[in-house]
């Protein structure tokens, strides 16, 4: 990460389509940036859990990116990280309360994980790398693209793990037995991510004709 946000680091502002594609493919939070892998493993034992978590992360990422883009000139650069954390925590708590009020059944299942979004590396890294240097509208699309990339990654992992671990997809039984219980366990989660990551990169390599563009600008997360 650069120590200080540099105004006008990227002169040309990318279009919404580019930003969304960037979030899903070129800089996919899970498969390319390898950020927030722990939560990605923890919640993806079923497709439904992954979906709810993905939607919550998408909402927090968009809200936080837009907030930072609006307030970036007011945030003192020396305390920007604590301020980002406050902004993320506020939106996570707001979504937590909204879910508890309007989706109590879902909240009972994933409520414990929602609070953990505060510490997701992907969200704060997008604030630092993108939203603090770009206007509101591109920041919105960047947040949307990144959130969508995370959501789709969680869904893909959830489908593989639920199908192999529990023999069902989104709670609908596909086979009447549990094919490989291993995939429902945390270790299986990491293997699933590794396999999907390899697949993802293989497809991208083929599409770009064997050339790999490095876009790891935001470092490593947990």
């Amino acid at each position: 990460m650069n120590p200080e946000p540099v105004a006008g680091a990227r002169p040309a502002t990318p279009s919404p389509i580019e930003l969304i594609r960037n979030g899903i493919f070129a800089e996919n939070p899970v498969f390319k940036l390898a950020l927030s892998l722990c939560p990605a493993v923890a919640v993806t034992t079923t497709v439904l859990n992954g979906l709810i978590m993905g939607v919550a992360v998408l909402a927090v990422q968009v809200l936080s990116s837009v907030t930072v883009a609006i307030a970036k000139d007011l945030i003192h650069p020396k305390v920007r990280i604590p301020v980002y954390t406050i902004i993320i925590a506020v939106w996570v708590s707001a979504i937590d309360m909204v879910m508890a009020a309007f989706a109590p059944a879902l909240y009972a299942q994933v409520g414990l994980y929602i609070k953990l979004i505060v510490a997701f590396a992907i969200i704060i890294s997008r604030l630092e790398v993108f939203a603090s240097r770009h206007p509101v509208w591109p920041s919105f699309w960047d947040g949307f693209g990144m959130g969508l990339g995370f959501l789709l990654a969680l869904l893909a992992i959830g489908v593989v793990r639920e199908l192999l671990g529990a023999g069902s997809i989104a709670g609908v039984s596909i086979v009447p037995f549990k094919p490989l219980l291993f995939f429902a366990l945390p270790a299986g989660g990491f293997f699933t991510i590794a396999l999907l990551m390899a697949l993802f990169n293989a497809i991208e390599l083929r599409r770009s004709g064997g050339r790999m563009h490095s876009s790891m600008e935001s470092g490593h997360g947990h």
Partner: protein, 274 residues
């Protein structure tokens, strides 16, 4: 190092403004959602009570709200039909701390704010016969309060324990809310629960299998058979979550203990109601 006072001031203002704005947003969301959260909670509680006691359709339910009036040194009970609301018509029983009945009569309106809530009890009955009780309890967990329900039979045997609200860590403390852990309490009497402890010893395999069978199928002959051996033995803690396991066990113990004593006091006066 030289202090730049203006810089210090600007940082302070920046952080303060961020916190104040965050607080305003959160306050707004809270005010907007609280009503719906309470309704959702009530619906969930009602479903949990129904499920734990497995009641017939024509059973009547009383809600007993317990309060401690600190200044007057009294324990007060407001008895009302379930769902009549906190301020609806109710019968109030007031006892001194020694268990002497001081007042028995109708009451309406809000509870005095100085009265400290001690939790609620639901009494299910049919044709004047008690069918069972669900008691609300609270205990301090690893991170935050653990709120739970204990269902008792008329003979004060545990019919079930259910954690209804907690913030323990997923994968560790949160395991106390799993059916198998909660099933360990089933079948123990109030007297046995009042001496209940927690152990970190590994769970005997036959007992674990029986507990899982009970929690998945609702009944297990194997459980009933092994209960004779296990009923005076401690609860087996969740691996890696001894604090959470102890918190729930301690909570169940005090909740059942208090209820057994209080029920002996109030039951004779509920005649007209149940």
């Amino acid at each position: 190092m030289k202090w730049d006072l203006r810089e210090v001031l600007r940082i302070t203002v920046s952080m303060t403004v961020a916190c104040v704005l965050g607080a305003v947003v959160l306050g707004g969301v809270y005010v907007g959602t609280e009503r719906y959260r309470v309704t959702a909670d009530r619906t969930r509680e009602r479903a949990a009570i129904q499920d734990m006691l497995d009641l017939p359709a024509d059973a009547t339910m009383l809600e007993v709200r317990q309060y401690l009036a600190v200044a007057e040194r009294q324990v007060r009970y407001r008895v009302a039909t379930m769902g009549s609301g906190a301020e609806g018509p109710a019968t109030e029983l007031a006892f001194s701390l020694d268990g002497e009945l001081l007042r028995l009569g109708p009451v309406t309106g809000p509870v005095p704010p100085a009265d400290e809530p001690l939790g609620r009890v639901w009494v299910a009955s049919q044709a004047g016969q008690a069918l069972g009780f669900v008691i609300e309890g609270e205990s301090r967990g690893y991170k935050n309060r653990i709120r739970f329900f204990v269902a008792l039979s008329p003979a004060l045997e545990v019919k079930g324990v259910r954690v209804v609200q907690h913030e323990e860590d997923p994968g560790l403390g949160a395991e106390i809310a799993t059916p198998w852990f909660q099933a360990q309490f089933v079948g123990r009497t109030a007297a046995e629960v009042s001496r209940l402890d927690v152990t970190r010893d590994p769970m005997p395999e036959d007992w674990y299998a029986a507990v899982v069978a009970l929690s998945t199928r609702g009944e297990s002959p194997e459980y009933t058979r092994l209960l004779a051996r296990e009923r005076t033995l401690p609860i087996h803690a969740v691996t890696g979550a001894t604090i959470s396991s102890r918190a729930l066990t301690r909570g169940v113990r005090t909740t059942v203990d208090h209820f057994a004593r209080r029920w002996a006091l109030i039951a004779p006066h509920l005649g007209g109601h149940s």
